[in-house]
Symmetry: D2
């Protein structure tokens, strides 16, 4: 395959990118100065060497910034002494963490890596359930008191929460879920009965 076609087919594998946009990416690169392509190529090449997946929460982080604050295999949040280690916020993916950080949460995280499909039998194939159990076991010895299962308010998210709840029951740690209710911008007329019922019971 010629390099234009091949590059186009690689961009097609990017999340949310179809054939037409993949071709546009290639056209964009063709029209870019050689130096820009060089920088992009170099950054992609070095990405593996300069980043690391945190051994504790499994999010990706840039190595240098961690070096400054703690052990090389922990991300800045896990390595920080100022975070509240009594509480773990379990998220589906790295991008969720940024959002939760903005809400003012100051505990620790665990990146599950996805949700568990409804019909799936092989749970560890989809999410880091074994790693989560191990993490909980280890942290309990320290001072872990609560695990927040911060999953999407979807059918698959609910299913995943149910399964993780069962797996974690023996740990005797408090397992909580995010409160349901009206999310910012939503109107009562378009809310579903479950959301209204939750919003009613968590009224304040």
């Amino acid at each position: 395959m010629d390099p234009i076609e091949r590059l186009s087919s690689l961009f097609e594998k990017f999340p949310g990118i179809g054939p037409r946009q993949a071709r546009r990416f290639v056209q964009y690169l063709l029209a870019s100065p050689s130096s820009s392509r060089g920088e992009l190529s170099e950054l992609i090449k070095r990405l593996g060497a300069e980043t690391s997946q945190c051994k504790r929460c499994y999010r990706w982080f840039v190595k240098q910034s961690a070096k400054a604050t703690g052990p090389a295999d922990l991300c800045p949040i896990c390595a920080s002494a100022s975070r509240d280690s009594s509480i773990i916020f379990v998220v589906e993916k790295d991008a969720d963490i940024e959002n939760v950080e903005r809400s003012g949460f100051r505990g620790l995280y665990f990146v599950l890596g996805g949700t568990i499909p409804l019909a799936s039998e092989d749970i560890p194939k989809h999410v880091r359930v074994l790693e989560l159990l191990k993490r909980v076991q280890f942290d309990t010895a320290e001072k872990l008191k609560e695990i927040i299962l911060g999953l999407s308010a979807t059918t698959e998210g609910d299913h995943t929460r149910l399964i993780l709840g069962e797996k974690l029951r023996e740990s005797n740690i408090k397992i909580s879920a995010l409160g349901r209710g009206l999310s910012t911008g939503s109107e009562l007329e378009y809310a579903d009965p479950d959301t209204i019922a939750s919003a009613l019971s968590s009224r304040n």
Copy 2:
């Protein structure tokens, strides 16, 4: 103006209807059997005579159905002896009530008639604030204990809640707001920090 044009212009005033759809409505009626037009015309004509606005909650209801269960000027919910009259759910519009009913709420309602625009000085022009104060004053003598301000989770909804909260403060009745959180179907990645913070504080 000819009747086709005139009818079209009346349909254009219907909520959410533009000129093109208004014309389509007229074409639809032109192609309908005379008997269908007759029934529609008759129902619209009698609407005023057969319905009434509840003197207590201000929602519209069909007269006959109320006659069966209570006084002629109260809607079936307000006239019912089995509803919990210690709690009033304030909604923006009639349509919200159906949705709240489906969530299992069994108290009473009050239809505010809208929200208060941010810059407005003349509050009674936009919402039934005087009627609400009167209703609360009257109900307190009985056994009203809580008012839920079930407004939209929007800037204007928040503004309205704030103003109503101040007006109702003297009543010494508990004023509550619907809980915020993830609404059904929403994902953490797309939630705003306020919603996440609320979902965190109402976690369970």
Copy 3:
């Protein structure tokens, strides 16, 4: 069924209206002054008596305005002496005529009443094909020279054009179709090969 429910169910049959918007229409009418409802009701009731379907082109028109210019059973366009009666523009529905008028066309029309579904055997059930043949036969005696099949550029429109073309072949009148090409606002990158090929062959 109570009048609110019944009226709501009638509005649900309007083109493009779902249950929620149908209810909103009823709420809108409930909140309207009695005089507005009265006018709407009256206009709908009189619609049948004040309008007529043109015997020649089958579009709906208001009786009075036709009276002024010609015979009572012809619409203003068909009754006009200043229109070019050598050419008939066949459209799917009444609403198309307004649009064609704005393009400056000054011939006559025929409203087909829809398109012919791909698998249908019973053509007269879907479109006024028999009426069209009769019209053509009658007009030919006068001075009809061309029939433009102004159907949608869709699969069903193409199918309908094919079938009508066959039916009209014996008439020995020129049968034409609207030119294909880039429609206003479209970009080459998103055009399909057929449209580009047509635009190429009709380049000017």
Copy 4:
């Protein structure tokens, strides 16, 4: 800036990519095997060396494939002896060519590089107008007979066609524009009067 942030900011410059999707691209690459990142990096790096911009039509092409059929600085289409060199199809961008090829066109191309903004005074800044004039001058000596200005059917496309038409007038070559009309899938009711007028005049 750390490499994750920097890579994210480079992806944000890709056409149609916002901050959120740019981050998702980085997450996708972080989770990809090192070999995939390596191939992507390598392809982007070599893109400049392996491709060339055609000296005649200004589209980008892969060098090797041209080598096989003709001179190194011409793309396969410009280098081909079997294309009709009496006609040039002027397009806005490379991606348009693929689409036109699918329509069966077998002449030559010229990539303008965009359209001319309405208020712009400095035309050569936006499109390859000087290169086009030079190309036409050169080709005329051979056997160029027609230039199709295959621009978008938009206000800016019309403006560009007007300006190019003036610049090319002296050449005494036939300048044509793509035919307007109903594009595949469009309905008469939603077509604008100009499109209908064009479709009428190019009826067949």
